[in-house]
């Protein structure tokens, strides 16, 4: 019955835990159950649960084949990340240097992590198989009929439905998110950079060196990191709240009772969402370019005689990215807030207008507090999204304008764009990973705290 439960890291309830503890099973299990410790599914097979038993056995065989045939060569070198670089030997006969591939540190690390995850998974499966054998034994001792494979399936459709539902997504998440994340976190503890590139060279563990460098010991890197961190937070605050307020004001205007053609107005703004973001941002960077149409127009109209350095002067560029982000983001906020705005109880406004409150007053004392209360989770998501807002920055300014006292970065660079440039342009993976971990910690702790304190999480049960 628990054939797949390992995947969802399902912990049995405490009383079951007692009966199904290994100690108890070892004491009370019969020979077949005990044999299941070595040969998975043995107990099930013996008690005529053929399909389940065979599945366990097959899993065990495949696992051992995998470990011996594939994983071992990598796991064995995890400690050093490889000791033999690519070799070259002169071959007189062929008149070339013959190459023999050496260890590839990156693959060693990656496949080791993968194998470790598989080992954990296998351990859970093994525990489940032992328990399944013991359960079958208990059922037999009580003289009941063994559940058939069909029964198991039925349970998976009802009582164990969460197992059915979560298995596939969990596997996907482990393969494409968890495994890569562990890999990249480990990279931060190595010296994987342009001078230690596999397959020609190997990299190895360096402990906390990258962290100390970024945070204090290397003045240039630490200084850059500090300034970029400050700008990232400033940017996230401005980008989030400017979008939030202007989007809400737009939604309020469209929602106003006397305004007609509501659908048309909304559609106009929605069109800008539909143009792929990288296209609209590339367009924006063209439009705002020193030689772009906007400067051309302003000059033709006689407002300016010199081009305005929208994207090339630090201050201008910082303002520009925030403004363009408003252009990009308002339609989304408008869509999201217009529904909620309509939910604000109308009598609040009525009593306020009887008291003679001005529209601004009503916005400040009714709309805003209500919206802030209701949309806190959305704001947090938006804030974290802006800390990681790669597209807007990278496509508009590429982080520029660069300055001489930053390490490989410019004045509008966020931590994410900096780490992207470090990875793609400079192959400095270890430094990038270090920054990535830091970004990750900020975002994760913030959203965890807010989600778990906010109404969304606490009121969850109210609907039940």
């Amino acid at each position: 019955m628990r054939a797949i439960s390992h995947v969802s890291a399902l912990a049995p309830s405490s009383e079951q835990e007692g009966i199904l503890s290994f100690k108890n099973i070892l004491q009370h299990g019969d020979a077949a159950t005990r044999a299941s410790f070595l040969i998975m599914g043995f107990g099930c097979l013996k008690r005529r649960q053929f399909i389940k038993g065979m599945l366990y056995l097959a899993a065990q065989v495949l696992f051992f084949a995998y470990m011996i045939g594939f994983a071992w060569q990598y796991l064995g070198k995890l400690g050093t990340l490889g000791d033999q670089a690519m070799r070259r030997e002169w071959s007189e006969a062929r008149q070339i240097y013959v190459r023999t591939p050496g260890d590839n540190s990156m693959l060693i690390l990656l496949f080791s992590v993968m194998s470790l995850l598989l080992i954990i998974g296998f351990a859970l499966l093994w525990r489940a198989s032992v328990r399944a054998s013991y359960k079958a034994q208990l059922v037999e001792e009580k003289g009941k009929k063994q559940p058939t494979f069909a029964d198991t399936i039925r349970a998976l459709m009802d009582k164990q439905f969460h197992v059915t539902m979560l298995t596939l997504p969990t596997v996907m998440i482990i393969a494409f998110t968890v495994l890569p994340i562990i890999f990249m976190i480990l990279i931060a503890f190595t010296n994987f950079d342009a001078d230690h590139q596999p397959p020609g060279n190997m990299f190895t563990w360096v402990g906390l060196k990258n962290f100390t460098e970024v945070f204090w010991s290397d003045a240039l890197k630490a200084g850059t990191f500090g300034q970029i961190l400050v700008w990232t937070l400033v940017w996230a605050v401005f980008a989030t709240f400017s979008n939030y307020f202007f989007g809400m004001i737009l939604a309020l205007m469209i929602n106003k009772k006397t305004v007609r053609l509501k659908k048309l107005w909304r559609t106009i703004f929605v069109i800008t969402i539909a143009v792929p973001q990288f296209v609209s941002l590339m367009l924006m960077s063209q439009i705002l370019h020193d030689q772009g149409p906007l400067n051309t127009l302003l000059k033709q109209w006689g407002f300016i005689s010199e081009n305005i350095p929208f994207l090339t002067n630090a201050t201008f560029a910082r303002i520009t990215v925030v403004v363009v982000n408003i252009w990009v983001g308002i339609p989304y906020t408008m869509l999201i807030t217009s529904g909620i705005l309509m939910n604000i109880p109308a009598d609040l406004y009525e009593s306020a207008s009887i008291d003679g409150a001005s529209p601004v007053r009503m916005f400040m004392s009714i709309t805003l507090p209500y919206m802030l209360f209701v949309t806190t989770p959305y704001l947090i998501t938006a804030f974290v999204g802006n800390i990681n807002n790669f597209n807007v920055i990278y496509l508009l300014t590429r982080g520029g304008p660069l300055v001489t006292d930053y390490y490989q970065a410019g004045k509008t660079d966020l931590l994410v764009t900096w780490l992207y440039k470090l990875t793609v342009d400079k192959q400095n993976y270890s430094l990038a990973s270090t920054i990535g971990i830091f970004v990750f910690i900020i975002c994760a702790s913030m959203s965890l705290i807010v989600y778990n304190l906010s109404g969304s999480s606490r009121k969850e049960e109210e609907f039940q």
Binding site: A9, M165, L250, A274, P276, W327, Y420, T423, G436, S456
Partner: protein, 417 residues
């Protein structure tokens, strides 16, 4: 009687004043005598006429119409007349903006007008004309007791639409090149579109378009299915470790995605799927399913009494999902599906890491991105715009048609209090 009371007559009186002011600004050039490049002295209006700057005609026509209509409205105020005045004033604004956009080109083309004349006389006149027209519009709306939000909304709508209009114009532009020192194209053509489909040796746009469509459809199906599975489980089923798993999911979603790209690529390579469209579907699905929080929030709002009743009637959890939850979740299904469908159209980073040199399996976003590289931008910029328009069309249609669901889904889920 009551109808007339609805209009604010004091404001109606001010409208003709504005309109007359507009007429005067049009005459501003006449006040100055100007030297042309040919060293002959003219007065400004002569020049405007003789150089055939035709965009002045609609401007004048709209202005005259505004004066006439507003005077009639003054004598015999009625709602219909004021609407006509508003229309005339809007025409003034439109023609004014068009004149502003083309003025310099027309002047340059004539080869006679000096820069100073444009800046000093014609320019300010036009600007005053525009401002007065907007003030007139404002007054008209107030007089009709219509919300002045229309003006703000129109201005905003044009700011939001102008880049899109520019994109479309450039897509039809005849001459190639990126940063042209003028706004309106010199000539229009369909060639940029047809060449995307005929000249495929270097940029096989049709193939990429098809790739993206296929990937988007599959990603959409898988992601939607899995997101619904996860959010239903977290919203409706109670099991140990539920809270823990939800928090883990939340945290995982915070990791900057492209940090894991390289690892993802090697994993895909290890299972023999690198550089294939299948791998793209897997990657987008893997990334998309972590966004289950909105859907989960939406499910939370569906009353529990419904599924409890069904459970008492003996329905399994599986059945409850299909018969109770799913039918009442159209908005969130649509929301999730759209978000998943769009991802492959807009991503160019993951796809470049995964596809590398496998040119045939590019998606349209990466292909378009490549057109802007330094060696290609001059020749391909207009085709890039054409391609972008082709990408935007289906997504726009999709959005317009299911906007309602999108709004309901996201408001129901994202921000449940």
């Amino acid at each position: 009687m009551k109808k007339k009371m609805n209009l604010r007559l004091d404001l109606v009186r001010l409208i003709p004043v504005c309109a007359l002011g507009m007429a005067i600004t049009l005459l501003l050039p006449w006040l100055h005598t100007v030297q042309t490049l040919g060293a002959v002295t003219h007065n400004g209006l002569d020049l405007v006429k003789s150089q055939n700057l035709l965009h002045m005609t609609p401007l004048t026509a709209a202005g005259v119409a505004a004066i006439l209509l507003s005077v009639i409205a003054l004598l015999k105020p009625s709602k219909a007349l004021l609407i006509a005045v508003a229309a005339a004033l809007s025409a003034c604004v439109l023609s004014g903006v068009y004149a502003l956009l083309t003025l310099k080109r027309a002047a340059d083309a004539s080869g006679l007008l000096t820069q100073a004349f444009l800046m000093r006389d014609l320019g300010p006149g036009l600007w005053l004309y525009l401002i007065l027209a907007v003030v007139g519009l404002f007054l008209t709306l107030r007089a009709m007791r219509e919300p002045i939000e229309y003006i703000v909304l129109t201005v905003m709508a044009s700011v939001w639409l102008l880049p899109i209009v520019w994109l479309v114009l450039t897509a039809f532009r005849q001459e190639s090149g990126a940063y042209t020192p003028y706004i309106m194209p010199k000539g229009y053509t369909w060639n940029n579109f047809t060449r995307l489909f005929t000249e495929t040796a270097q940029f096989s746009f049709p193939r990429w378009y098809l790739n993206t469509l296929v990937v988007a459809v599959f990603t959409c199906v898988f992601t939607t299915a899995m997101v619904l599975m996860i959010s239903y489980t977290f919203s409706r089923l109670r099991f140990p470790a539920r809270k823990k798993l939800m928090n883990i999911g939340l945290i995982l979603g915070m990791f900057p995605g492209f940090m894991s790209m390289i690892a993802v690529y090697h994993i895909l390579k290890a299972i023999g799927l690198a550089k294939s469209l299948v791998s793209l579907v897997m990657v987008y699905t893997g990334g998309g399913i972590l966004n289950y929080f909105i859907a989960k929030g939406f499910f939370d709002t569906i009353p529990h009494s419904l599924d409890e009743a069904a459970t008492i009637d003996g329905a399994s959890k599986n059945l409850v999902f299909w018969k109770i939850i799913l039918p009442s979740s159209t908005p969130i299904v649509v929301y999730t599906a759209i978000t998943a469908f769009i991802a492959p159209w807009v991503d160019f980073i993951f796809v470049s890491v995964i596809m590398k040199d496998e040119y045939q399996n590019y998606t349209v976003a990466l292909g378009l991105f490549r057109m802007l590289e330094r060696e290609h931008i001059y020749e391909y910029f207009t085709r890039f715009c054409a391609g972008a328009v082709l990408v935007a069309i289906p997504i726009t249609l999709l959005f317009i048609n299911i906007q309602k669901f999108y709004v309901e889904g996201v408001t129901g889920g994202a921000v449940k209090g």
